[in-house]
């Protein structure tokens, strides 16, 4: 028995391998939240590719991309407000308002000016949200819920409740043009993603957003101007919603006062699925991109399987609950039972 002992480093090597494996497990367990969603997205793709012959085609992926682009832009903006431990429910009617305003603008001043007016209007709604929240001290939930109603009414008033037509055809074509191999909407959404990621990670404002959301009092006592940071987050959110609105407006080629009614839920769902904490201070836009992918692929796949859009509403709501419940379970397990 004593001679069986392996020479020299045998035990150490075995030990190291064991250590490596448990380190992998450890790594996996620690990052379960970050890994979970990409895994779910891949699983979804595999599932739909197996059940639908049309799903795994280049054309369908392009469709998914174009359909996802507006939600993506809105969700990246939403990420900013949720990171500050806030929320913007008004993105739905911001999209509608921007659609109407940019349609009017394009009709009278041309495509570029109309788009600029729309983006400005989106940022202005964000500014208004920010002022109500930081100056009047109204909770983000209430402030933006009220703003949802106000801006929806404004959009309907401006347009008299009907679609604004007469947009230059070249604008509508944008939705189907391709730059650098990507449909324009997808390219726009990617641009928003890159800029958002850069702002959040590499600018002072971005780091302040995480600090304010993580612990407002500590941030204030560290000399961070809380109100300014929150204001900026809502302005960015409004601006991103306007980008989303322009993408949608191009696709329908008219100004729609009822555009984007499902966006408040869908954007919050994408952000939360993407691993951003509703309590603020944790998460990234890259995670949110996966959240958007999940929601969009789910919806596309269900379409291909001829599941009605009514049932889809139920599925997306259910998926949100399941995802958050799983997330909670992971958090509980990691903190020890």
């Amino acid at each position: 028995m004593s001679e069986v002992r392996p020479a020299g480093g045998g035990i150490e090597r075995a030990g190291a391998a064991l250590g490596r494996r448990s380190r992998w497990r450890d790594l996996l367990r620690r990052n379960a939240r970050d890994i979970g969603l990409p895994v779910a997205v891949v699983a979804l793709i595999v599932l739909f590719a197996a059940t639908s012959p049309v799903f795994a085609t280049a054309q369908n992926f392009r469709n998914i991309g174009v359909a996802a682009a507006a939600l993506a832009a809105v969700s990246f903006g939403q990420t900013f407000t949720i990171l500050t431990a806030g929320l913007d429910l008004s993105v739905g009617s911001t999209v509608a308002l921007v659609s109407v305003i940019s349609a009017f603008g394009m009709r009278s001043h041309g495509v570029a000016a109309g788009m600029a007016e729309g983006l400005l209007a989106g940022a202005a709604v964000g500014l208004l949200n920010g002022i109500v929240i930081t100056r009047l001290r109204v909770f983000p939930f209430i402030a933006t819920l009220a703003m949802l109603s106000i801006m929806s009414g404004l959009a309907l008033n401006l347009s008299s409740g009907v679609a604004v037509s007469g947009i230059p055809g070249e604008f509508g074509d944008l939705a189907y043009q391709v730059v650098a191999g990507l449909p324009v909407p997808v390219a726009l959404a990617l641009l928003v993603l890159v800029v958002s990621h850069f702002i959040l990670r590499y600018t002072r404002l971005g780091r302040h957003i995480y600090a304010v959301g993580g612990n407002e009092e500590a941030a204030r006592l560290s000399g961070i101007r809380i109100d300014g940071v929150k204001l900026a987050a809502y302005v960015i959110c409004g601006f991103c919603a306007a980008v989303g609105s322009i993408i949608l407006t191009a696709r329908v080629a008219s100004g729609q006062p009822t555009l984007g009614t499902s966006l408040p839920l869908e954007s919050v769902a994408a952000v939360v699925l993407g691993g951003v904490s509703l309590f603020g201070g944790r998460g990234s836009v890259v995670g949110v991109a996966f959240g958007v992918a999940f929601v969009s692929i789910l919806s596309n796949g269900l379409n291909l399987l001829n599941v009605s859009s009514y049932t889809q509403l139920m599925v997306i709501g259910g998926a949100l609950i399941v995802a958050v419940a799983l997330d909670q379970a992971i958090v509980r397990r990691r903190t020890g039972e």
Binding site: R204, Y210, A218, L221, E337
Partner: protein
């Protein structure tokens, strides 16, 4: 005699960490058993196991000699173990009585569904009476009107009401001033006399020696010793058992040099909080601020830092009058404030260590609103090394130990290049080894010529660290003395100045 509760050979693993390995401990009726150890020694884990919040990987729990398993905190409570955590389980919107009866509300009517307010108030009153506090706390009062010390009493009353024979207290005096702590100890004396078994966890070793019958020392998850309190001749012996090596000196020498006045405040006042507060701090000086909780010390410091409003008075920095409107402006003027509650006010627990370090000085790591992570990391690492930070800078602040968290908060202000540093309770809830390091850091800052203000409820800390101490009571500065005149009794007398005459100097949890 059968122990009220016995833990046998308990082990507990968390992912990557062995929190406890083979710890045994027994609690006997009519005895106070103290549990001491540095942060990370396994005290919290032991308490979580005892309170049913965590399940051990190995070992047995015996209640009155019978083996039990706790699946949840309510199991532990059913077996008569009441745990009073540092974070108090108080429901803010309710009355004292409702908090005392929480979870065992008296009911009447058919099916016992109607809550009886009068019965609840009577029960709460009786419980408070048996603690000798019937006069001090009104069962009908809103619990929000109570001090931290009184809220603790509410929790103890709750445990009594449930006839819990075993009471576990996790650092009950951490947030209390010396006198409130003393009053709490007297209550524990009383409970011991009535036959309760008490597990008492504290960093305040003098207190432990005063109250405990037996003391158990943990270090690194291991059981080091259980000894009768009478066998411990000096507090240093306990410290050495806890840290596993002789402690040379807890306090650094007093720094010698003192320069000109850096910060002077005159006639500061805010209605209802403090009045007519004047003092000055010189370069290289450590000024201590003593007083009871609620004496207005924190309020004054936060007002100087412009975190809270100021009604009257002026603040002069280097002879120039400051009109500060926000903490951001205070920081720009070179004033730093380290809040008393690091988790609530000092750190962003979700962010990494180096981000917390850089939080008050982000503009230095890049221009045009950009942040260079390379420069940020280098600065953070440099300051962390200087502070002997021993955690992981990449990890979120919530997972590192209290002592290291405090170093992050200190490091934040070292990086901000402030020259007036206000420390509010800098060593609260951190272990002895880390305390010594924090003292050394404060000493080094003073040696570099910074003006330092230390607000503390631990007198030995002030007496050994400071050049000068001012004492506040009832929102006013009552006394001021130089190092040569330091006298704990004189400080205490001044700290009570505003209370004397209220109801003598007796039992006081108010």
């Amino acid at each position: 005699m059968t122990a009220a509760v016995a833990l046998e050979d308990i082990a507990k693993d968390y992912p990557g960490v062995r929190a406890l390995s083979g710890v045994s401990l027994d609690l006997r009726a009519g005895e106070v058993h103290a549990l001491v150890g540095e942060n990370g020694a396994g005290k919290s884990t032991l308490i979580r196991i005892l309170s049913g919040d965590a399940r051990p990987n190995r070992g047995r729990i015996l209640v009155q000699g019978r083996e039990v398993q706790f699946q949840s905190p309510s199991d532990a409570r059913r077996h008569g173990i009441a745990t009073i955590f540092q974070e108090l389980m108080i429901v803010p919107g309710l009355s004292v009585a409702e908090n005392v009866v929480l979870g065992s509300e008296p009911t009447l009517g058919w099916g016992q569904q109607i809550y009886s307010r009068s019965r609840a108030e009577q029960m709460a009153g009786e419980a408070l009476k048996s603690l000798g506090l019937a006069a001090a706390i009104d069962p009908r009062a809103s619990v929000e009107s109570l001090s931290t010390a009184q809220k603790q009493i509410v929790e103890i009353a709750r445990a009594l009401l449930r006839n819990a024979p075993v009471i576990v207290l996790d650092e009950p005096t951490a947030a209390l001033s010396d006198n409130e702590a003393e009053a709490l100890l007297r209550i524990l004396d009383r409970l011991r006399g009535q036959g309760s078994a008490i597990l008492y966890v504290s960093h305040r070793l003098n207190e432990v020696r005063r109250i405990a019958d037996r003391i158990t020392v943990l270090r690194g998850g291991q059981h080091i010793a259980t000894l009768p309190a009478a066998a411990v001749a000096r507090t240093e012996e306990l410290i050495e058992l806890m840290v596993g090596r002789p402690i040379e000196e807890l306090f650094p020498p007093r720094s010698p040099a003192r320069g000109g006045t850096v910060l002077a405040v005159r006639g500061l006042g805010r209605t209802g909080a403090f009045e007519d507060v004047s003092f000055e701090v010189r370069a290289g000086e450590i000024l201590g601020v003593a007083g009871l909780i609620g004496a207005g010390r924190t309020e004054v410091m936060r007002a100087i830092f412009a975190a809270d409003p100021l009604d009257r008075g002026e603040i002069l920095k280097d002879g120039r009058r400051l009109a500060l409107r926000s903490p951001a402006e205070a920081i720009a003027s070179g004033i730093a404030y380290l809040p008393e509650d690091r988790k609530e006010q000092g750190l962003v627990l979700t962010l990494q260590g180096h981000e917390n370090l850089a939080m008050a000085s982000l503009e230095r790591y890049g221009g045009c609103g950009l942040v260079s992570w390379g420069r940020l990391r280098r600065s953070a690492q440099e300051v962390a090394a200087r502070l002997q930070f021993r955690g992981d800078l990449e990890a979120p602040a919530r997972v590192i130990s209290g002592g290291n968290q405090q170093k992050l908060v200190i490091g934040k202000w070292v990086l901000s290049k402030a020259d007036v540093l206000i420390f509010d309770e800098p060593t609260r809830g951190i272990d002895v080894g880390a305390k010594a390091e924090v003292y050394r850091l404060i000493y080094q800052l003073a040696m570099q010529g910074k003006a330092v203000i230390v607000v503390s409820s631990e007198l030995p800390e002030l007496v050994n660290l400071c050049h000068r101490i001012i004492v506040m009571s009832g929102g006013r500065v009552q006394d001021e003395m130089d190092a040569a005149d330091f006298d704990e009794r004189r400080i205490l007398a001044a700290a009570f100045a505003a209370h004397v005459g209220a109801d003598g100097a007796g039992e006081r949890i108010q």
